[in-house]
C-alpha cells in the first residue's frame, strides 16, 4: 500500500527532521484555488507548481510556475502530491490527468462531485496504486510540517494523536479542543461528507495505525452509511490497542433527510447514529455526547 506518511513527510534527514514534500495545486488561478494556495504557502507547504489548462507560462505570486497539465507540472517538478480545486463537473478530468501523470496522493476538495465520477476515479487510483482523499474533504494536515487542504491553521498543533473526520468544521472544533487539552496531532485526515469516499474511514485508519509516532486516535463520524461500523468491527478484529475515542454527529436528525452533506442521510436503520454508537461501544470506543467532551474522554483513555 502507498504510504501516506512517506508521501507527506518523506524520510527524516540527518538531524531527524522530516522533509517538506513538493505539492501541485490544480486550479491555482481560480478564486478559491488561489486563495487557498496562498494560505498553504503561508503555512509552509512547499507548492512547486500550479495547473490551469490554457494558462501555461504564468507565474502564481510571481514565483510558482503554472502549467497546462499535471503531466507537464510533474515532468518539471517530480511532485507526487496534488490538491484539486476545480468545479465539481470538471473534477473527473482533473483527477484523471493527475493520476495518469504519476500523482500518488490526490486531495479532492470539490463538493458536489457525482458519485459515478468519484467511483471512476477510485477505480483508476486503485490501478495506479494512488490515494485519493475526498472528494468534499477539507484535506490532510501534518501539523507543523505540511498542510494540503483548506483547513484553518490555528486549531492544529503538532503531536501524537490522529483525527479522522467526515466533517470539516467538526474537525477544526475538535482539533482545537485537543490542542487546548495538550493533545497535538500527528496527522488529521478529512474523509469527506460524500456517500462514497476515495479514502474510507477504514482505509485512513489502516494507513496511519502503525506509525510509531501515533499514540491515539479520534474518529469523528456522522449519520449515513456504515463507515463507522465497519471501522469499529475492524478495530475489534485486529485487536487494536491504542486508545480510540469517537464522536457521532446527527443523533437527533430526522430520517430520510440529507443533512447538509450528500452522505448524511439515514435510510431506515442504515446509517443511523444508534447503530454507529452501539458498534463503537462493542469496540470499546467511548463516544462523546458533545464535541467538547472528546478531549476529556481521550485523556481518560490515555491515562488508563
Amino acid at each position: 500500500m502507498t504510504d501516506i506518511y512517506e508521501l507527506l513527510r518523506g524520510a527524516k534527514d540527518a538531524d531527524g527532521n522530516y522533509q517538506k514534500q513538493p505539492v501541485i495545486v490544480q486550479g491555482i488561478t481560480g478564486k478559491y484555488g488561489s486563495a487557498h494556495a496562498k494560505l498553504m504557502l503561508e503555512y509552509g507547504t512547499n507548492i512547486v507548481a500550479g495547473v490551469t489548462p490554457g494558462k501555461a507560462g504564468q507565474k502564481f505570486e510571481d514565483k510558482i510556475p503554472v502549467y497546462d497539465s499535471v503531466k507537464d507540472a510533474v515532468d518539471a517538478t517530480g511532485a507526487k502530491i496534488s490538491i484539486v480545486f476545480v468545479p465539481a463537473k470538471f473534477f473527473l478530468d482533473a483527477a484523471k490527468d493527475a493520476l495518469n501523470s504519476g500523482i500518488k496522493l490526490l486531495v479532492a476538495i470539490p463538493e458536489h462531485v457525482p458519485i459515478r465520477d468519484t467511483m471512476e476515479v477510485i477505480e483508476l487510483a486503485k490501478q495506479k496504486d494512488a490515494i485519493m482523499i475526498g472528494p468534499n474533504t477539507p484535506g490532510v494536515i501534518v501539523p507543523g510540517l505540511i498542510k494540503v487542504g483548506i483547513m484553518p491553521a490555528s486549531p492544529f498543533s503538532s503531536g501524537r494523536v490522529a483525527v479522522l473526520s467526515k466533517s470539516g468544521t467538526l474537525l477544526y472544533e475538535i482539533s482545537n479542543n485537543l490542542t487546548s487539552a495538550g493533545f497535538g496531532q500527528n496527522i488529521t485526515i478529512g474523509i469527506g461528507g460524500d456517500p462514497v469516499n476515495g479514502t474510507r474511514m477504514i482505509d485512513a485508519f489502516d494507513m496511519i495505525k502503525d506509525d510509531p509516532e501515533l499514540d491515539g486516535m479520534v474518529v469523528v463520524g456522522e449519520i449515513g452509511g456504515e463507515a463507522e461500523e465497519v471501522l469499529a468491527q475492524h478495530i475489534i478484529d485486529i485487536g487494536f490497542k491504542k486508545p480510540v475515542v469517537g464522536y457521532i454527529a446527527g443523533r437527533q436528525a430526522p430520517k430520510e433527510k440529507r443533512m447538509g452533506h450528500a452522505g448524511a442521510i439515514v435510510m431506515g436503520t442504515y446509517g443511523s447514529a444508534e447503530s454507529k454508537i452501539s458498534m463503537f461501544a462493542k469496540a470499546n470506543i467511548p463516544v462523546a455526547k458533545r464535541p467538547g467532551e472528546v478531549a476529556v474522554l481521550l485523556a481518560g483513555k490515555m491515562n488508563s
Partner: protein, 368 residues
C-alpha cells in the same frame, strides 16, 4: 433526489418495467377524470417522500364514486411523519400470487452497486428475509448474474426469464439515471404468472442533477429549500421553533443534536457552507424572518475560511434593516471572532463562550 412512487413508476415504464395501470393527480378535479378513465375498483395511494404510508392509512381501496369523494380529499390532506401529501396515485388492483423483493443500491462502504433479491418481499428492507446479495461494480448486471439471482430466489422458466429482463432493465435505469437506489418492492407475481412492479422507490444522486435535465420536473422542494439552494447554503425545514444556523454540515448537525438533547425543537437545519458571504447569510436571515413559528435564533460558527466577521456583518445589516426582531444566541469561534463579538456587542445578539450556554439561552427563550 428521492422520487415519489408515481415518478419512479414513470421511469420504470420508460425502461420497460411492467407496472399496474395507474394515473396521478394533485387535485380532485383531475382525480375525478382519472377515476373515470381507470374505472373502479382501484387503490388510492398517497405520494409522500417517506416510507410506512400503508401502516399510516395512506393506501385505501376504492370502489365507488361515493367512496372516492370521501377518501380522495382525506388522503390529499393527510401528513405522514410530517410530510404532506404531494400527489395522489390511483392504481388498478393486481391479482397477486406472491410478493418478491428486488433492489439495486449503492453500497457505500464497499463502493459498488449491490443487488438484493428475496422471495419474501412486501415488507421494509430491514425485515426482508432470505436475502440474495450480489455485488455488481458500477451497476451493470449481465444475464448470467441475473439468472443466478433468479434461481437463488426460486424462479424458473417463464418467471426466471421475466425476472432476468426486469433486473437488467432496472440496472439500465440505475446507470443511466445515476440512481443510488432503485427498488421494486413488492415485485409481484400475478395469478396469471406475470411479473410486475407494484411499488417503486428511486433515489438519484443530487450531485449528478446537472446532467439530468429530464429529471428536474421531479424536483420536490419547499420554496424555502429552493431559495436556500440558490443562495448556496443547505437548509432542512422542521416543525420546531428554534432556527439553528452554523457553518459546516457536521457542526450544524452537532448543534442540532445538543438543542434537541436540551429540550429544544429546531425549526431549521441551516448550513451556510464553506463559501458563505455576508450576502448569503443575509439571505438566510431573510428566509428565517419569514418563518413565523421561529422564536429564537441559535448561531454556532467555527470561523476558518469563512470569517466570523462576515457573518456578524450580515446580522448588523439585518438589524439595521429591521429584518429580524428575534433574540439571537450566538457562539463564535475561530477567525476574527474577537472582532465579530465587538461588532455585535450592542445588538440583540447575546454572545456566549460555550455552545452549551447559548443553547440553554435559546431553549429557555423558545419555551417561554
Amino acid at each position: 433526489m428521492r422520487l415519489l412512487e408515481y415518478q419512479a413508476k414513470e421511469l420504470f415504464k420508460e425502461f420497460g418495467i411492467k407496472t399496474p395501470p395507474s394515473v396521478s393527480s394533485k387535485d380532485i378535479e383531475k382525480g375525478r377524470k382519472d377515476a373515470k378513465e381507470l374505472g373502479y375498483p382501484f387503490v388510492i395511494k398517497v405520494q409522500v417522500p417517506v416510507g410506512g404510508r400503508g401502516k399510516a392509512g395512506g393506501i385505501q381501496k376504492c370502489s365507488s364514486d361515493d367512496e372516492f369523494e370521501l377518501k380522495y380529499p382525506q388522503l390529499l390532506n393527510m401528513s405522514i411523519k410530517g410530510e404532506k401529501t404531494r400527489a395522489i396515485l390511483l392504481e388498478k388492483m393486481a391479482d397477486i400470487e406472491k410478493e418478491l423483493y428486488l433492489s439495486l443500491f449503492l453500497n457505500r462502504s464497499k463502493r459498488c452497486y449491490t443487488i438484493i433479491a428475496s422471495s419474501e418481499g412486501g415488507v421494509e428492507i430491514e425485515s426482508v428475509k432470505n436475502q440474495t446479495i450480489r455485488e455488481v461494480g458500477l451497476g451493470d448486471v449481465d444475464s448470467q448474474i441475473a439468472k443466478e439471482v433468479a434461481n437463488e430466489i426460486g424462479l424458473k422458466d417463464s418467471q426466471e426469464e421475466q425476472f432476468v429482463e426486469m433486473l437488467q432493465k432496472l440496472s439500465k435505469l440505475t446507470i443511466e439515471k445515476e440512481a443510488e437506489l432503485a427498488e421494486i418492492n413488492p415485485l409481484a407475481i400475478l395469478k396469471d404468472g406475470t411479473l410486475i412492479a407494484l411499488d417503486g422507490k428511486v433515489m438519484t444522486d443530487d450531485n449528478s442533477n446537472f446532467r439530468h435535465d429530464e429529471l428536474q420536473k421531479y424536483q420536490e422542494k419547499s420554496d424555502l429549500e429552493e431559495q436556500a439552494e440558490k443562495s448556496g447554503f443547505s437548509l432542512v425545514e422542521l416543525d420546531g421553533n428554534i432556527a439553528v444556523i452554523g457553518n459546516g454540515a457536521g457542526l450544524v448537525m452537532s448543534t442540532f443534536d445538543l438543542v434537541t438533547d436540551n429540550g429544544g425543537k429546531p425549526a431549521t437545519f441551516l448550513d451556510v457552507g464553506g463559501g458563505a458571504t455576508t450576502e448569503s447569510v443575509y439571505e438566510a436571515l431573510t428566509l428565517i424572518s419569514k418563518m413565523s413559528r421561529v422564536k429564537g435564533i441559535l448561531v454556532n460558527l467555527y470561523g476558518g475560511i469563512v470569517k466570523t466577521t462576515t457573518v456578524a456583518e450580515a446580522f448588523i445589516q439585518a438589524y439595521n434593516n429591521n429584518l429580524i426582531d428575534l433574540p439571537v444566541f450566538a457562539r463564535l469561534m475561530g477567525t476574527e471572532s474577537d472582532k465579530a463579538k465587538e461588532m455585535l456587542k450592542d445588538t440583540k445578539t447575546k454572545m456566549f463562550d460555550s455552545i452549551e450556554e447559548a443553547i440553554n439561552g435559546v431553549v429557555m427563550e423558545a419555551n417561554k
